[in-house]
Symmetry: C2
Subunit: 278 residues, 2 copies
């Protein structure tokens, strides 16, 4: 019998993060999932060829873009081959069925604590708040404790064999995170794709307008535009731009060749199937 080598997928760890949850919703179980400590490490794992895919958060619907991921995409030469959209559902998690009155401390990532401010005010107004580096680390930390609860994902509760005391305690139900799946491979058109590019234009009146006109004149929907500093000259920007369509379609090929003439830099990060919210 020949044992097939499993396809490797890097994700932003530790175990039980929302990125792991997104990764597992996207890939089948027979992949090998490898956690990495930070976003640059995920990028290194892909460019070194050690993993076939990498998953990193790119944007949150409340907090905005993940700048380090955007900046690394500009520098790297692999492709965006997929996107995952996930609702961020926070849960109050403890070791056993403890009574709320016994919870003296709530532990989580500062952003997760901030996202559950109303719940905490109402249900645990007297509790002490403890901040740690990730929601997964928080869930791990309450293991064995009887007076502490963590805020974290359902997967973290499962991973560490803990109980969910209250599900869905986040204040804003519109809290979603968008992840990019990165790889050296480029997926073919599916008929329902998005393309992400980076471009810059010369610093002159109408230059950005002219570039966007290439899409507008073809009635192509711009799904996202975001600016980042060039780091070369103050107050000069590059634009990250997402729109509907696949770069192998003739319509988008025309877009890209016309954009080349209206920009000072153009990089196609990739074309990939549109995410369904998970």
């Amino acid at each position: 019998m020949i044992m097939a080598t499993k396809v490797k997928v890097a994700y932003l760890g530790p175990k039980g993060t929302f990125t792991e949850q997104a990764t597992r919703s996207y890939f089948l179980d027979n992949y090998e999932f490898i956690e990495y400590r930070d976003i640059p490490e995920v990028f290194t794992a892909i460019s070194s060829g050690f993993v076939n895919f990498g998953v990193v958060p790119i944007e949150n619907s409340i907090e905005g873009s993940v700048n380090i991921a955007l900046d690394l995409l500009f520098e790297s030469d692999f492709k965006v081959s997929g996107e995952i959209e996930q609702r961020i559902i926070q849960n109050l998690i403890s070791e056993d069925d403890v009574d709320l009155a016994d919870v003296k401390k709530v532990i989580s990532h500062p952003q997760a604590i901030a996202q559950c401010r109303n719940f905490l005010k109402l249900k645990l107004p007297e509790s002490e708040r403890i901040e740690v580096a990730s929601t997964a680390a928080a869930v791990k930390a309450v293991k064995g404790s009887t007076d502490m609860a963590a805020i974290g994902s359902e997967l973290a509760a499962k991973s560490y064999k803990m109980k969910i005391l209250y599900p869905g305690i986040e204040d804003n139900p519109n809290n979603c995170t968008r992840f990019f799946v990165l790889s050296q491979q480029e997926p073919p058109p599916t008929g329902n794709d998005k393309t992400t590019i980076i471009f810059s234009v010369k610093h002159a009146p109408g230059a950005l307008y002219d570039a966007l006109g290439v899409l507008a004149s073809r009635n192509i929907n711009l799904t996202k535009i975001e600016s980042r500093p060039t780091r070369k000259k103050p107050w000069e920007y590059i634009f990250y731009c997402g729109f509907e369509g696949h770069k192998d379609e003739s319509l988008i090929q025309n877009v890209l060749s016309e954009l080349k003439n209206k920009t000072t830099l153009l990089k196609v990060l990739g074309s990939y199937p549109k995410a369904k919210m998970t």
Copy 2:
């Protein structure tokens, strides 16, 4: 003799930050400068009427926008009345003229340490790195120490009566920060002004293009465009947009009234004299 009440200016503290340095370069000495612990506190000081002006960082030429400041601007009802641009010059600071060979620890804000990576690699490769909440706090911490040096501003060195061992140790000379001066007052046109607005457009092909066309068709220079999530619906954005001109000029009044018809939300944050780099 009648003592005049001094005009109060809030800034992001503690003493010796780059924001204090920017604030003092903009206002005359006979103002009263009050330090605040974080950016939301500066906003509260202005909206409560306790101070006349507030100064907050809005954007760095390497790191990008300061999101919390952008989000608070959207919610508040006072005006951007000025901007300050400042080169960020980092210095190696100690209590006395210590020999580099005796410096065992380097202390600063993580971003400042990152900005001086090349210098540290070359001159202090063996030193331990200690991270604290601000460059000003770092300078304060090395007071009385003989084996520790801080990375921070010239003003911090002066404030805490310390020595600059090495000036200008940052890797990238294009490191600048832009600050907004906020107040309830609106400055009149000077002939060399900028206007900052927030707008959103309906989610349809060409909607952003049409809005930018209002500026492009008049040959008005767009100095900045940045998107932020609406926080109401995932993947819907508001745009922060800066351009040349003053809202009391007829050209810009025409722009704003035409923009009203092409946007679903329009808020003028203010018109203010363009910064000179300090």
